[in-house]
């Protein structure tokens, strides 16, 4: 399926497996048969022009969007559906929410809860999902805020922070559920250029910590630095994929070359 995937750990189940996924919005075909395998601990960067389906692919992985055809599994478990004989059956809302709590998601617009303090934003999910008691969750939240360099902002409200700080809080919030995999949907696209660095350095730390990351971004330099694999998507299809030095420096497809010449 993915001949160019790096050989990390072939025995473990794939961290993410996207199998022949199709998705339409009305008559518009957003995803047109995507196959993708992400190995545990791998950092995958998805590139592509806007409207190519990158964000939709990411949102299919945690079932914020339902694929019309095909399925996704994370750590060997089907997402949003279960196998029933020869067919796939939709899971209950509750079961899907439980699955999502193991998959971190970081949004382009942060989507922090504006009415909660930074500390409560981070501590909410472990308490609400019943994993931690409130005092433990607060302790964990303080540790995570310290890790993203925002220990002193615990009692601030999100709108009192800069964009870069908000995105770091959003990353801490995703980490609070100790996900094995984190999906980033253009995490720096809404930021001022001078704030991009602080967010990328937090993501870089995560990349070296062994967490599986799937990142949709336009930061080519960042992709070159942290990615184990770069996937280029256009018009809902994977055009090519491979290690960054191959895809970014010696693209084999005309479409990839064209895209790179515009963004570099």
């Amino acid at each position: 399926m993915t001949a160019t995937a790096p050989a990390l750990d072939k025995t473990a189940p794939a961290a993410v497996e996207v199998h022949d996924v199709h998705k339409w919005y009305g008559a518009h075909r957003v995803l047109d048969g995507i196959d993708l395998t992400v190995r545990p601990g791998e950092v995958t960067v998805i590139l592509g022009p806007s409207g190519s389906g990158k964000s939709t692919l990411l949102r299919v992985i945690n079932h914020l969007e339902k694929p019309e055809i095909g399925y996704v599994s994370v750590n060997g478990e089907l997402i949003g559906v279960k196998r029933q004989g020869e067919r796939l059956k939709e899971l209950s809302e509750r079961a899907i929410l439980a699955q999502r709590s193991h998959i971190g998601f970081v949004f382009q617009n942060f989507n922090l809860f504006p009415h909660l303090t930074v500390l409560d934003n981070v501590a909410a999910a472990p308490v609400a999902t019943g994993r931690l008691a409130k005092p433990e969750a607060l302790r964990l939240a303080r540790d995570l805020l310290d890790r993203v360099g925002l220990a002193d902002k615990a009692d601030a409200y999100p709108r009192q922070l800069s964009g870069g700080q908000q995105q770091r809080v959003a990353i801490a919030r995703a980490l609070a559920l100790r996900p094995g995999i984190i999906l980033f949907d253009e995490p720096t696209s809404a930021l001022d250029p001078e704030l991009v660095g602080e967010v990328l350095s937090v993501i870089k730390d995560l990349a070296t910590s062994g967490t599986t990351l799937v990142i949709v971004t336009h930061e080519i330099g960042f992709a070159r630095e942290v990615a184990d694999r770069v996937v280029f998507i256009d018009a809902g299809r994977i055009v090519e994929q491979g290690p960054p030095h191959e895809v970014l420096d010696r693209p084999r497809h005309e479409r990839t070359r064209d895209f790179l010449s515009k963004v570099l």
Binding site: N111, H115, A125, T129
Partner: protein
């Protein structure tokens, strides 16, 4: 820019023979005079003074009788009934409104249609008609029973004993209030950014938690002013319960007025002043509730009247000091 060296001085409206004693930058800018505004203000002040003078001195208002009636037990009993009916209907109406709004936003077409129809019906029928309808309800349904729909019943009540005048009033007002509250609540929920639903859902927060802790608290910020508007309307609508033989504030004023026809004007003033007081209390509470829900929505909270007064005082002080320095 190739202006002659003297051009800067000509900006000052002073004759060249009398050069400004200070450099231009040290001078205060003279504020614009607004004679039209002063004239209009003077006219309005005179009109207001006339109205106040008329209110105070016209014997027609009989302020001594107003003082006599204002705290009479009959009036206070009526006020108590008004408060009770308004409070119960406000709470029940809001709860009903939340349920109806969730119905309108639900995935089930049947629930959506039922909620829509309810809102349509109760917004179309005048409240007075609903009240009198309910008042005669016992003629339509002799008993109310709990049991399997269309099947056997377990308990049944005699409707005429169940429906006291108070119950009729509260049910009628709540039914009406719920229809309006539903739209207010729905508007509030729709005003919450879609990203909040997505973030809550991506974190795997349970459905009930998403609504009660993430979406609804944010919706309350825009629900509050609209619902208070509703609430003030509701307080005034309670005057209609007089027609289902409940002696509320307006009812007691009416009945006292028919017993003492000479006192009708001071009695109406008593009712007016009490309604003004109720509305004012609600408005003060509204300010603090809105301020509470503004946490996080604005970078700094709006100042309380006390804080505003303090800031104005400090401002005045610095201005006076600057004035003295110039």
């Amino acid at each position: 820019m190739s202006e002659p060296p003297g051009a800067v001085v000509s900006l000052v409206d002073a004759p060249a023979a009398e050069p400004p004693s200070r450099p231009l930058t040290a001078q205060r800018v003279l504020p614009l005079r607004r004679p039209g505004r002063w004239a209009v203000t003077a006219v309005v002040v005179v009109l207001v003074a006339q109205i106040v003078h008329g209110l105070a001195t016209n014997p027609f208002y009989q302020w001594d009788r107003f003082r006599y009636w204002f705290l009479r037990p009959t009036i206070l009993d009526g006020l108590g009934i008004t408060l009770e009916v308004a409070a119960l209907s406000a709470v029940l109406g809001l709860l009903g409104g939340i349920v109806l709004a969730l119905g309108r936003l639900s995935g089930s077409p049947v629930l959506r249609a039922v909620s829509w129809t309810y809102t349509w019906l109760f917004r179309s029928v005048p409240l007075i008609v609903v009240l009198i309808f309910l008042y005669n309800f016992s003629a339509l349904y002799k008993t109310v029973s709990l049991g399997i729909p269309f099947g056997p019943s377990f308990i049944s009540f005699d409707e005429s004993k169940l429906a006291t005048d108070m119950a009729v009033a509260v049910v009628g007002l709540s039914l009406n209030e719920a229809a309006y509250a539903a739209e207010v609540v729905r508007g509030g929920i729709l005003s919450v950014d879609q990203g909040q639903h997505e973030a809550a859902s991506a974190l795997g927060l349970p459905g009930g938690y998403q609504f009660t802790r993430i979406v609804f608290p944010q919706a309350l910020r825009s629900i509050t002013p609209n619902y208070v508007n509703q609430l003030i309307g509701l307080i005034k609508s309670t005057s209609l319960v007089f027609y289902v033989s409940l002696l509320d504030l307006f009812g007691s004023v009416q009945s006292m007025g028919s017993t003492y026809p000479g006192d009708i004007v001071p009695l109406l003033l008593v009712a007016t002043v009490w309604y003004l007081i109720l509305t004012s209390v609600v408005s003060v509470v509204q300010f603090y509730v809105e301020r509470y829900f503004a946490r996080g929505a604005t970078r700094t909270l709006p100042p309380t009247p006390l804080q505003k007064a303090r800031a104005a005082l400090a401002d005045l002080r610095t201005r006076l000091r600057r004035e003295a320095a110039v």
